[in-house]
Symmetry: C2
Subunit: 195 residues, 2 copies
Amino acid sequence: MKVCVLFSGGKDSSLSAIILKNLGYNVELVTVNFGVVNSYKYAKETSNILNMPHKVLCLKDTIILQKCKDIILKDGFPSNGIQYLHREVLNIVSKEYDIIADGIRRDDRVPKLTHGEIQSFEMKNNVEYISPLMGFGHKTIRKLINQHFIISEKESEDLLKSDYETEIRELIRLDRKNPLDYFPTHIQSRVIGLK
Amino acid sequence: MKVCVLFSGGKDSSLSAIILKNLGYNVELVTVNFGVVNSYKYAKETSNILNMPHKVLCLKDTIILQKCKDIILKDGFPSNGIQYLHREVLNIVSKEYDIIADGIRRDDRVPKLTHGEIQSFEMKNNVEYISPLMGFGHKTIRKLINQHFIISEKESEDLLKSDYETEIRELIRLDRKNPLDYFPTHIQSRVIGLK
C-alpha cells in the first residue's frame, strides 16, 4: 500500500513516516514547493537520513500560496492562512494518491481538520487520510523524537526548513513587509540524524 | 518506556499495541476485569498470539461496573455508560502506570475523550495518554487489520471477548433484563492469529 506523507523534513512528519513504514506501508515522502524558495532540498536531505524515497510536488502555477499570504496579511496572524493552504494541498495531492498522511499532532491547533472535514475530504476524493500522530500528545512526541532522531533546533527565522512557512515568509518579504510582524518567533526543528 | 495498553483482545487494541511496540515501547497489555465473568482469558490468548506480556487488573471491589449498568438501564442505550466506565478505568490505571494507551479510533463515538478532557486527565494524573489509532479512519484500519491479523468475527452475543460489554451484558442478565434491549446487535471481532 503506497502512502504519500506530506513531508517538511521536520520531526513530526518524519515520525509519522516511520510509524507508517513500520505498519508495512510503502512510504513516499512528498514535499510541496511553490517555486518561491527551493527549500525542498532540506527535506530531501532528511529523506536520505530516513532512507525513504522523496518527491517534490511543484505547485508553482497555482495561486494558493499567494492567497494564503493575503489571508495572513489581512488577519495579521498566520493560522487561517496556514489552515487554508493545508486544505488546498490535501485536495491537490488527493488527485495523485489514494492514501495521504501528514504530521499533524493531537495538540496542534493549525493546520487541523475537524472530524467532519476529514470524513468529507475522504469521501469526496475517495482517499484515505491518515494523521498518525493525532493520538499522541506533545510530551509523548517530544520523548519519541529524542529517542529516534538527532535534531537541530533554531528560531524559525534562522532554520532552513521545507515547510509552508519558509516560502510564505519569503512572499511576505517580497511584499516589503516583515514576516516577524505576522509569525510569532518559535523554535523550529529539523531531523539531522537517526539514533 | 513502559506503556499500559488497555486490552480487550480485539483488533483495535491489538493494532495499537503493535504500533507502540514498533516505536520502541515496552508494551504491557492490561485487561480490566470486574469479577462478573472471567472473560479476561480471551485477551490472554490473544496476548500470547501477539507475544506480548499480559496482566489482568481486577476491579471486583469497585462499584463502577454497577454504575455503568445503571446508566445504561436508565438511558436505554449504552453510550453514556461505556463512556463513564472508560473514564473511570483510565483514572484507576493512571495510579499504576505513567503511560496509558487504548484502542480508540478516529471514527469511534464512544468511548472517546474530548481534547480538553485528555489534557486535563494527563495533567491531573501526571501521565501520558496515547490513542495510537486516533488518526486512522475505519477504512484504513480495516485494511491494516486484514494485513496483520487473522480475525474471528461474530455477532456480539456469540463472540467471547474480554471487553467491557461482555461483563455489562452479564450484569444486565443478572438484573433479569435482556441485553439485546440495550445493546444494538453488531459484529464483534477477536484476533486469533497473525499473518
